[in-house]
């Protein structure tokens, strides 16, 4: 660099930045639009419904629930009281996860336009054009600014439009702008990691590790007043500290933007000094030889899905454990919240109307009496609901594992394996076995996760034994297997239409979840495998139904294998 005059350096390094930005925005337009629409539909779209659904009593309850240490660890410090109105409560509840999601959007956005392009050789082509050395990075930043800016403004305006009196214009804009600022902070950080790592996978991994660390550092800071400053050292802590609709602090916004600019400057500095395709951290050499695992096709299937399987199990455990944190005061929660009460009591066939003018304590007493009279206890009913919802949420994982057989085929890698003395049966069986095993493992881990925390928080640990939790989780396995088996059948019969399983999954989700509220006709749940699963403690374990369900899964799987053996293997790359 010292060979060249400083002015030259400055002029030539940024030339054509704006043209590149236009090009990037063009590539980004559908993805960005999808993010903005879906994100706003979910986050802002919840506002009117929740505003109506949560009455004054529920708001008091919600505010006090958010003061629990477990909740503070999960969603940040409790800043909302009933006096600030719905806006503050809602923000307190979802703000952390909402800004975190925008962070994730930016991790992918920046990686896509910098390191991933470089890795694919596209950046090389761009650099061969009369384009400055730092133009691409600058264009990526400008793109991030435009996308985050649009997200911020649209979100702020929508929040203002959707909100009640407690959600004024300026706080709504703060709400939106903090999202954008956190987004830019992660954009800058990801850009830095894109210089450090020599490949996009590394850059994304580093960024996610940073995000997770920020989350936990923030949790530590939020939970211990002595270490409160820790929280403010992270973008997530800063964002929550701004507390829109409550304290309405604007300085975290300035700090976030300033810090983003500083990190971006470091990224520029590193980008200017490194060579194309190189990272500041040299790539670690991998294994020169395969482990014993890679001596069979089944071993390969396991190797390909191993990381995802481990992450899924950790996720299931963590979700189960975090659901269990609510178990400590589930009776208060259910007594005062209509929605949860319906979700919990309707499937048990218990009718409970809260009488006017009762205190929460009286409500809890009455409620427990009613539930106990029906032969249940609330803790078990709650665990049953968690099981039900968790299965609906996590069912995607075993489906993804078995559908890997099809994505391998599309990527042209299946034929490489089938050109060796590996029969198709064995090849497909590897993915099927992992899918089936994953369902079983996930349910075991869920029971253990629930149990681990539940024992510490529920008043009467005997209500929720590990045996009960195992039993109520494992009864779902045949239904989960049936879903995987349908996917296998599709892989065998209609490999181009495996998307059908996702539609059926969405349908199952809807019917079973909303089915809990007894809105749909009852027979509808029997159009999904989940309908045949006994929900403990309300239902008895029905071995016949479970065996039949397993038999159906086995039959569908066998049919899938039969047709897979007969059809052509099609890679998309070939004609």
């Amino acid at each position: 660099m010292d060979k060249y005059k400083r002015e030259d350096w400055r002029n030539s390094n940024f030339s054509n930045t704006f043209l590149l930005t236009k090009f990037m925005l063009r590539r980004e337009r559908f993805i960005a639009l999808a993010w903005i629409i879906i994100f706003n539909v979910v986050v802002v779209g919840l506002v009117p419904g929740m505003m109506l659904a949560i009455d004054v009593d529920a708001r008091v309850e919600l505010a006090s629930m958010m003061e629990l240490p477990a909740m503070i660890a999960m969603i940040g410090p409790a800043f909302a009281t009933i006096y600030e109105g719905f806006g503050a409560l809602y923000t307190n509840l979802i703000f952390l996860f909402s800004v975190l999601t925008i962070g994730i959007m930016n991790i992918f956005l920046i990686t896509r336009h910098t390191r991933a392009d470089e890795e694919q050789g596209r950046y090389e082509v761009v650099r061969s054009l009369p384009v400055g050395r730092l133009a691409n990075l600058s264009a990526a930043f400008l793109t991030a600014i435009v996308v985050n800016g649009a997200m911020s403004l649209i979100m702020g305006l929508l929040m203002f439009a959707a909100g009640d009196y407690s959600m004024g214009f300026a706080p709504s804009m703060l709400w939106g702008l903090i999202h954008g600022a956190v987004g830019l902070a992660f954009a800058a950080l990801t850009a830095l990691f894109c210089q450090l790592s020599s490949n996009s996978r590394g850059a994304v991994s580093y960024s996610f590790i940073a995000l997770i660390l920020f989350y936990f550092i923030r949790a530590a800071g939020d939970m211990n007043p002595d270490m409160a400053v820790l929280s403010l050292l992270t973008p997530l802590g800063l964002a929550v500290h701004a507390a829109p609709y409550a304290s309405n602090l604007w300085w975290p916004l300035a700090v976030l933007l300033g810090a983003s600019a500083a990190v971006a400057a470091i990224a520029y500095r590193l980008s200017a000094t490194r060579d194309i395709d190189q990272g500041i951290i040299p790539a670690r050499p991998g294994r020169a030889e395969a482990s014993a695992l890679l001596s069979t096709a089944t071993g390969l299937s396991f190797r390909l899905t191993r990381t995802a399987l481990i992450l899924t199990l950790i996720g299931v455990f963590a979700l189960g454990a975090s659901y269990a944190t609510i178990l400590g005061n589930v009776d208060e929660f259910v007594a005062t919240n209509d929605f949860y009460r319906n979700l919990l009591l309707t499937p048990a066939g218990i009718d409970f109307e809260a009488a006017e003018g009762m205190t929460t304590e009286e409500l809890v007493t009455v409620l427990n009496a009613v539930v106990n009279a029906a032969g249940f206890n609330l803790t078990q009913l709650f665990a049953s609901m968690v099981n039900n919802i968790m299965v609906l949420l996590t069912l995607a994982a075993p489906l993804l594992f078995v559908l890997r057989a099809k994505s391998e085929e599309r990527a042209g890698r299946t034929e490489l394996i089938l050109a060796t003395p590996t029969c198709r049966f064995k090849y497909l069986a590897g993915f099927a076995a992992i899918s089936f095993a994953a369902s079983l493992l996930m349910q075991i881990v869920l029971a253990v996760g629930l149990h681990s925390i539940a024992q510490g928080v529920i008043p009467n640990p005997g209500d929720l034994t590990l045996a009960f939790l195992f039993e109520s989780a494992i009864v779902y396995v045949p239904a989960m297997w049936t879903m995987s088996a349908i996917a296998i059948l599709l892989i065998g019969v209609a490999p181009k239409a495996t998307g059908i399983i996702w539609a059926y999954y969405a349908y199952t989700f809807l019917v079973v979840f909303i089915g809990r509220l007894a809105i749909f006709p009852e027979w509808l749940v029997y159009t999904t495998p989940m309908g045949f699963v006994p929900q403990l403690p309300m239902d008895e374990v029905n071995p016949v139904a479970l065996v039949l369900l397993t038999a159906v899964a086995a039959a569908l799987t066998a049919a899938g294998f039969f047709f897979y053996n007969k059809r052509d293997i099609n890679a998309v790359t070939h004609v």
């Binding site: 890795e119 020599s198 490949n199 996978r201 790539a283 050499p285 991998g286 294994r287 020169a288 030889e289 395969a290 482990s291 890679l294 001596s295 069979t296 096709a297 390969l300 190797r303 390909l304 990527a411 042209g412 890698r413 034929e415 490489l416 394996i417 089938l418 050109a419 060796t420 003395p421 590996t422 029969c423 007969k566 059809r567 052509d568 293997i569 890679a571 790359t573 070939h574 004609v575």
Partner: protein, 296 residues
């Protein structure tokens, strides 16, 4: 004579499109056979039928006397396949993929593996995502040649290799040929075909239009000739099999059908030959002729 590959009247339809329209091929054991033809002619489809990855619509395809579809697993114990587009697992290293393929084929010769990795100048510790097309091909080639098999099915295996590596590849093929192993090679690189192959089959629009040794194929084409004579040649344009006559400073230049060569030389001889140069058609010319020709 034993056939390693026997394809009888194989057709393959994809919906309304027929990729193969009755392909016939017989390849002898230990033979290096070149399978050439323009893009989209059906080379890869033929190979994938041979591998039992696609099922032929009609006809029979046999490898080592066994049915390519039904006995695929048995057959695959004795073959190694390298595709033209080598798609590998981005998060496995080259070394891991080589071991995977060799393990699946059931033989493991560590010294051979080491030597091949060295010859092909491959870094086996890198993740496949970082490999260029050429390096991915090297991974598949090392895995193929490190396996103990009787037939190598190679589908444009060197399209991403540099000339030095192309040389290494050719040495590998010749080594296997000397050991009596067969090779079924689809290729666009004529020098490769000329140096390695015993016989050539040309496929066009789903039909095999020519099969034979290179010499046999040359017989079906034209030589380029330049002739200088004492007296002006008369009546040359009236002879059958003479084309494209042009006058050049060194003499007359024209093309002759190989089969008419004798008659033409006899005719020219009457005019007192001072100089006669004949150039056999280059492989490129040979193939271009077949690629472009309407029908066989």
């Amino acid at each position: 004579m034993q056939y390693s590959v026997e394809i009888n009247n194989v057709t393959k339809n994809f919906g309304k499109f027929s990729a193969l329209k009755g392909v016939n091929l017989q390849i002898q054991e230990g033979e290096v056979f070149a399978y050439i033809g323009p893009n989209g002619a059906g080379k890869s489809t033929t190979i994938r039928v041979l591998l039992g990855i696609l099922q032929s619509t009609s006809g029979t395809a046999k490898v080592f006397g066994k049915d390519a579809w039904r006995d695929a697993v048995e057959i695959h114990k004795k073959i190694a396949y390298v595709p033209g587009d080598v798609n590998l697992w981005p998060n496995l290293t080259g070394g891991e993929v080589i071991d995977l393929f060799v393990n699946l084929r059931g033989s493991h010769n560590k010294d051979l593996r080491k030597r091949l990795i060295n010859d092909f100048n491959l870094d086996p510790t890198k993740k496949c995502r970082t490999y260029s097309k050429g390096n991915r091909q090297k991974v598949a080639l090392v895995a193929a040649f490190a396996s103990e098999v009787d037939l190598y099915i190679l589908d444009e295996p060197t399209s991403g290799l540099d000339p030095l590596m192309e040389q290494v590849f050719q040495e590998c093929v010749l080594e296997q040929k000397n050991r009596g192993k067969g090779v079924f090679l689809s290729s666009h690189i004529m020098s490769e075909v000329e140096r390695l192959c015993d016989r050539v089959g040309i496929i066009r629009e789903g039909e095999v239009v020519q099969v034979g040794t290179l010499d046999e194929l040359r017989h079906l084409t034209r030589y380029a000739m330049t002739v200088a004579t004492e007296r002006a040649i008369e009546g040359l344009d009236k002879l059958d099999g003479v084309f494209d006559i042009t006058k050049e400073p060194g003499g007359l230049h024209f093309h002759v059908d190989t089969l008419r060569m004798g008659e033409v030389v006899n005719h020219i001889n009457q005019f007192g030959i001072k100089k006669l140069e004949s150039t056999p058609p280059s492989l490129e010319e040979l193939f271009m002729q077949h690629y472009k020709k309407e029908g066989a």
